[in-house]
Amino acid sequence: MKSYGRVLIVDDSSTSRMIIQRCMQMAGIAVADYAFAENGLEALSALKGGTGIELVITDINMPKMDGRTFATVMKGDPALSGIGIVIVSSIADSALEAELRALGVLAVVKKPVSPAKMLQAMGGDR
């Protein structure tokens, strides 16, 4: 399984950000460092700041800029389009999932997240 230098977790809920990070750790996914943002706008700012982020895990339903818009902007920017995106969401909308996958997101994980779900999303085989 791939290891990551820096992972950006984007969610307006502090509880959700903490749970996602904990599930990544419990799944044994190697991450050197985590960064956090509360919405898509903050996340874009962090990404454009050149902070060496290798993977983004983002919620959909957020204020200011939602995850769908954020993923679309990110994948449309040549400087950011190579960074992997995993979506986590409390909604399971098949049309939205198809749209996100067409954009190039790696996986869509339904909340509540778990170590097993995060491992599967990262391509783990345990």
Partner: protein
């Protein structure tokens, strides 16, 4: 609201959604009051704190139907959830109850309307206890969250879009 909900099925789905969200996220067993699955000493009702010690939160659903899901519980339950999740490291007010409600709403709607249903939710928010509730009650559940009384109500809401 364009859809009609079966109150019994909605209440059962809401209870299951709350149970799954609380178990998976906060490691707290939630179930019907008096459930044999979670025996409680003396068969008493779970604690229902006074109005000043309660927390109330709501999330509005825009699709597949317009409705609101409200939950109410003792503040001590919220504190316990945050102690479990943050292990005393946070030191500030967290939004754990709002995130639990957000996840429970998604689980409830998926269970009731089927996986893959187009769902749109507003952001969850805390309500003042004195705030009135609009709309009719579609379904209501009272649950035992390991000794704390957890109430959830599904209400009709009409949006002026």
């Amino acid at each position: 609201m364009n859809e009609t909900l079966d109150p019994k099925r909605a209440a059962a789905a809401l209870m299951e959604a709350l149970a799954a969200a609380f178990a998976d996220m906060a490691f707290i067993d939630v179930g019907p009051i008096g459930s044999e699955a979670r025996p409680r000493g003396g068969g008493s009702r779970p604690r229902d704190e006074g109005a000043g010690a309660k927390i109330r939160a709501a999330i509005d659903v825009l699709r597949p139907l317009s409705c609101r899901i409200e939950i109410e519980c003792p503040a001590t339950l919220k504190a316990r959830i945050e102690e479990t999740l943050f292990m005393g490291e946070s030191g500030k007010e967290e939004d754990s109850l709002l995130e639990l409600l957000n996840v429970a709403a998604g689980l409830f709607l998926s269970a009731y309307f089927g996986p893959g249903t187009d769902i749109k939710l507003e952001l969850p928010q805390y309500l003042f206890l004195s705030e009135g509730s609009e709309g009719d009650v579609l379904a209501e559940v009272e649950a035992d969250a390991e000794g704390a009384l957890l109430r959830a109500v599904l209400r009709t809401i009409r949006y002026r879009y």
